[in-house]
């Protein structure tokens, strides 16, 4: 790692990288031909190629957003991004068949171990495509489909065609257009009626190459009365040049179904993380986003739920940690489009060493949606005076029967708390770590235990060596 990179990212523990052994690597830069080549390489049906090309033109024509951190957004050099890189010729079902370098990386990240212990299925994506994929036999026997998105399109084109882009059309925003044009990898999940997937399934996304663009596309459909918990994690090596991660995630929860989608995003501090995530909840369905943003240079991500059916429920719990050189622009959007729908948003952010965290929220209640309830809580914790925290809430309430609560707080670690903890034997760093973990506790308690422990360790590491 260069000194410059080291300075920029501190002690990021996943910053190692492997040698690049690409079997196919596209030249940097984007054109209609690149888009067509990706589609041809994957031997896709024509309708998908058409969507990609349309999306590409929309991306080219669309202006960069004029909100959020536009300064940083305009620094992205789209010509200096590798849009497709294949590092393994197959998606393996056995870790032993995965190329050694790549397998070692996932070993270091603890994925095979976690899979054995507590996961129902795993997909591991390295650069543009999945290199490993497996699902427990009992889930497969119940008709649960859990594939990487490329295989999903190949094996179940009719389902993909029916739902792809219905929740997030390519024209939604500039980055959803980019993703639709060059998407590769991601997860495809279908849970049949009434099936409850008890163990979480996990996807892990790893960027290894420099100036890489990763554009995974995930589609999860939970049929009537079913449920699933999907967990994703992501890391990247530390480089002094930037990489781009721009995913699109679409969730569809049918009548009475429940989808929980948990993310621990821990990209290295040279990654732009610009992701569109949105779920639809039909009658009495529940969509939950549990969204943790720890890494990246700039994250702009606002998990959204469209409450389309009566009695549907949305839950968004998010935390953001912004350290030196980081801007976490995160939040939540909930649209109450049907009567008697409910939502709860809890957002917690920590800013430290000049980092910036922003909460950007949207709450909409349409005129015909009577009897809706929503509670929004935003808490920000500042660890020093150099850091920054802002809140941008938007509310569009079209029905006067709506019952809304909104609480926001900004606090600092008090000297009383530090003195108290230090008088109990904790060093200043340990005390900070404890306070930070406690602040995020309403989030971590929602995670599977293994993840909660990992996250707490991660935050404690972030507190180390940073107090003068």
């Amino acid at each position: 790692m260069s000194d410059e990179a080291r300075e920029a990212v501190g002690d990021y523990q996943f910053g190692f990288h492997d040698p690049e052994n690409a079997t196919i690597r596209f030249d940097k830069g984007l054109s209609e031909q690149v888009v067509r080549d990706i589609s041809a390489l994957k031997d896709e049906p024509e309708w998908m190629t058409d969507i990609r090309v349309k999306a590409y033109h929309h991306f080219m024509d669309r202006e960069m957003p004029d909100w959020g951190n536009c300064g940083e957004l305009n620094n992205i050099d789209f010509d200096n991004v590798t849009y497709f890189l294949r590092s393994s010729d197959a998606t393996e079902k056995d870790w032993d068949d995965v190329p050694d370098d790549i397998k070692n990386t996932f070993d270091r990240l603890g994925i095979p171990e976690a899979e054995q212990k507590w996961l129902g299925g795993v997909t591991a994506q390295y650069e543009s495509e999945a290199v490993y994929h497996s699902i427990r036999e009992d889930l497969e026997a119940q008709g649960v489909l859990f594939l990487d998105m490329d295989s999903g399109l190949k094996e179940h084109p009719e389902i993909v065609k029916q739902y792809f882009g219905t929740v997030i059309p390519y024209s939604d925003n500039k980055f959803s257009a980019l993703n639709t044009a060059v998407w590769s990898g991601g997860s495809f999940i279908y849970v049949p009626k009434g099936v409850h997937v008890e163990m979480p399934v996990q996807a892990y996304f790893r960027i290894n190459a420099q100036n890489m663009g990763q554009f995974e596309r995930t589609l999860i459909i939970a049929d009537e009365g079913s449920s699933i918990h999907y967990v994703e994690g992501c890391t990247a090596p530390t480089y002094s040049t930037d990489s781009l991660h721009s995913a699109v995630v679409e969730l569809i929860a049918m009548k009475g179904a429940k989808i929980r989608y948990s993310t621990i995003q821990n990209w290295s501090a040279n990654v732009y993380n610009l992701v569109t995530k949105r779920g639809v909840a039909h009658e009495n369905a529940t969509v939950e986003w549990v969204d943790g943003n720890i890494g990246s240079k700039l994250t702009m991500k606002y998990p959204a739920v469209l409450l389309k059916g009566e009695g549907a429920h949305a839950e968004v719990i998010s935390v953001a940690y912004a350290g030196a050189g980081q801007h976490q622009d995160a939040g939540a959007k909930v649209h109450h489009l049907a009567p008697n729908t409910t939502s709860s948003i809890l957002s917690k952010s920590i800013s430290k060493n000049g980092g910036r965290s922003s909460y950007r929220g949207m709450l909409q209640v349409t005129p015909k949606s009577h009897g809706c309830r929503s509670k929004i809580v935003c808490d920000a914790l500042m660890l020093d005076n150099d850091s920054r925290s802002d809140t941008y809430p938007t509310m569009e309430i079209g029905n006067s029967t709506a019952d809304l609560e909104h609480e926001a707080s900004v606090s600092k670690v008090s000297s009383d708390q530090l003195f108290y903890l230090m008088s109990r034997g904790f060093s200043e760093e340990e005390a900070m770590g404890l306070i930070v973990n406690g602040f995020f506790e309403p989030f971590t308690r929602e995670l599977p235990m293994e993840y909660a422990v990992e996250l707490n360790k991660l935050l404690e590491l972030e507190m180390e060596g940073s107090i003068g």
């Binding site: 000297s415 903890l421 230090m422 973990n437 602040f439 506790e441």
Partner: protein, 254 residues
């Protein structure tokens, strides 16, 4: 002086002058506490009692302008708060801080681990914890609550004493631990103090004589304007309870 005597001296405060934001609070305070001794400090609000406890524990807001603090024969001026804690000093807070989201059980275990040298064994610690909680008549459910979050005054003080029992300090500073306690809680807290006191030096700051029905002090000191103006035995506390501080003030001014 014999070696044994040296080892028995826990705390020696000499001619201590302390300021906060350039306002003097302690003005030439001196006090020596030996192992097995219970000292009580009484005095009006603002006399500097809590400041003494905080400054001995190392609170960074206080500036020592003159004088020294020796703990176990060592000048501790350069020691940070947590180093003092790890060396066996303990302060029971008048107003313990709330730490949201941190469960009492986790907090206690980490705290005890950070103060003890040898690794903490899970089962032994739980046994010790159960014993201490039983002695203090505390509910197990406290362990899953957040540290001092939503605790009543009495619950907070009991948690302070629980920490003292687990940390087994060599020097225990108790800042108005008896304030706001009902008779039962007072008795329980006193029990905790009495179990630690024989192996430690104890400094109890209080406004009331009633704690001293349960804890037998060796010395009672009266502080006025940042210094000790009178020292006596338990009878001094009774006299203060009956007569207040006015009679001392005239002495001090004389």
């Amino acid at each position: 002086m014999r070696g044994l005597t040296m080892a028995d001296e826990i705390l020696r405060v000499e001619d201590l002058h302390v300021s906060v934001d350039e306002t003097p609070i302690l003005n030439g305070m001196s006090l020596t506490i030996n192992r097995g001794e219970i000292h009580v400090i009484m005095g009006r609000n603002g006399a500097g009692k809590s400041t003494l406890a905080s400054v001995v524990m190392g609170h960074p807001a206080y500036e020592i302008t003159q004088g020294t603090i020796h703990y176990m024969g060592t000048n501790i001026e350069e020691m940070s708060v947590f180093e003092r804690a790890r060396a066996g000093m303990f302060l029971s807070f008048q107003y313990p801080a709330v730490i949201p989201g941190v469960q009492v059980g986790t907090f206690l275990k980490k705290s005890v681990q950070s103060v003890r040298d040898e690794p903490l064994k899970g089962r032994e610690f739980r046994k010790e914890l159960n014993g201490a909680m039983q002695a203090l008549e505390m509910e197990k459910s406290v362990l899953s609550r957040y540290v001092n979050d939503g605790f009543s005054g009495g619950e907070k003080k009991r948690l302070e004493i629980l920490q003292m029992l687990l940390l087994k300090p060599t020097l225990a500073l108790l800042d108005e631990t008896d304030s706001g306690l009902d008779i039962d809680a007072l008795r329980i807290v006193a029990k905790g103090i009495n179990s630690v006191a024989p192996q430690a030096g104890c400094l109890i700051i209080t406004h009331y004589q009633r704690l001293l029905d349960h804890v037998q002090p060796h010395f009672v000191h009266v502080m006025i304007d940042g210094t000790v103006v009178e020292t006596g035995g338990p009878e001094l506390a009774i006299k203060l309870e009956e007569q207040g501080y006015d009679w001392l003030e005239t002495t001090a001014e004389a």
